[in-house]
Symmetry: C2
Subunit: 197 residues, 2 copies
DNA sequence: TTTGTTTGCTAACGAGCGTTAGCAAGTATA
DNA sequence: TATACTTGCTAACGCTCGTTAGCAAACAAA
């Protein structure tokens, strides 16, 4: 009755379950025995599939970072698109990544601090680069007159802050679909930035 | 040379130092031995002043909750003040609490999950009540035509999200004073909400 | 001078931690 | 049939955790 071929590799199952636990309790407060129990295993058995607890965290954090970069690149690829429209698509892309796996997103946003060096520094520089891409987009939008904001840095910070708050309240079984959320957030946040509104 | 009367009670010193460590490493990843070392003590000595590790977290979280409520009440007390102006003052009050002790604020925002029941539930209901106050203010502003937003709930969430991101980047020795930050944030965030702008 | 409070120490408790070694069964490939 | 990979177990390692008991010095209030 139980399928002999698992739907996902054991390693992927461990990652998923660990991500959910890391989100719910935090990385440090999640024990390998807890994780094993959740999977119906003994603690030691986990190490047939992974090298360490931190390895899981590393994979989640850097995997999601890659997702964010990919979606941003797609959203801003076309040179003929107006900046404001690029920003809208970047916002929607960001929201899409956040909603696709909100547990992993929450871990990405909050648990990276438990990475040890040099991964921690490497992660932070990726995050800075990503934020920089948004800031550059907004700055260019202001330069060409499509957007306006009293302070570019503040505008960028508040924009990303609003987006990144999403995993704290998003529920996959909620009333709004990810696309609707992405659209409303873009509406709300671009609304304060557009020159002609 | 060393003062016989400490500037703060030992208990308050423990709270302050613990708050800084909780912010930097997270509650679960901070050990009592680490905290004791930071204070030049042995681990066991801490227990002459406090009952438990969680007691410190409890004091920080609920102490700050009180601060938020107090400042909000002051900002919205005068019945003759226009709603938009009340909201501006509530925003500035919120920022004032966040900047007054950004370490405690970060703990308040992120470490409350490590409170055990029933404190955890109690804390969450306080937080919900506070968010509800902001939502009610915005809703009233929309009702009387001073504000506009496509979605009240979204407007509230993005507003508070932007504000609560502050402890992540605020540095007391930065270029901007807390008042300047409060003013700019209010400007930026009200800008998207005001009807006539 | 007595009493109580504040402060801090040493030593240890039971428990849980992440991780490893060694073994074994099942499955897939050759 | 032989080989190798996947999967999982038991048992234990050294270590750290939060916390407690018991003692003692310093100091303030009576």
């Amino acid at each position: 009755m139980t399928p002999t071929v698992p739907l996902r590799s054991r390693k992927a199952q461990i990652d998923r379950t660990a991500t959910a636990l890391f989100r719910a309790r935090g990385f440090a407060a999640t024990s390998m025995r807890e994780l094993a129990t959740e999977l119906g295993l003994e603690a030691g058995s986990l190490y047939s599939h992974i090298k360490s607890k931190e390895e899981i965290l590393h994979r989640v954090c850097f995997g999601l970072a890659e997702d964010f970069f990919t979606d941003f690149a797609v959203a801003t690829a076309d040179a003929s698109t107006p900046v404001a429209e690029k920003l809208r698509q970047a916002i929607e892309g960001h929201v899409r990544v956040l909603t696709r796996d909100s547990a992993a997103s929450a871990v990405f946003l909050h648990e990276w601090r438990h990475l040890s060096e040099p991964a921690r520094t490497e992660f932070l520089s990726l995050r800075d680069r990503y934020e920089g891409s948004f800031r550059a987009l907004i700055a260019r939008g202001i330069a060409v007159g499509e957007l306006h904001a009293p302070d570019t840095a503040f505008a960028t910070l508040t924009l990303l802050a609003s987006l990144n708050w999403l995993p704290s309240w998003y529920r996959p079984d909620g009333k709004l679909t990810p696309d609707e959320i992405a659209h409303r957030l873009a509406e709300q946040l671009l609304g304060g930035l557009l020159t002609n509104k």
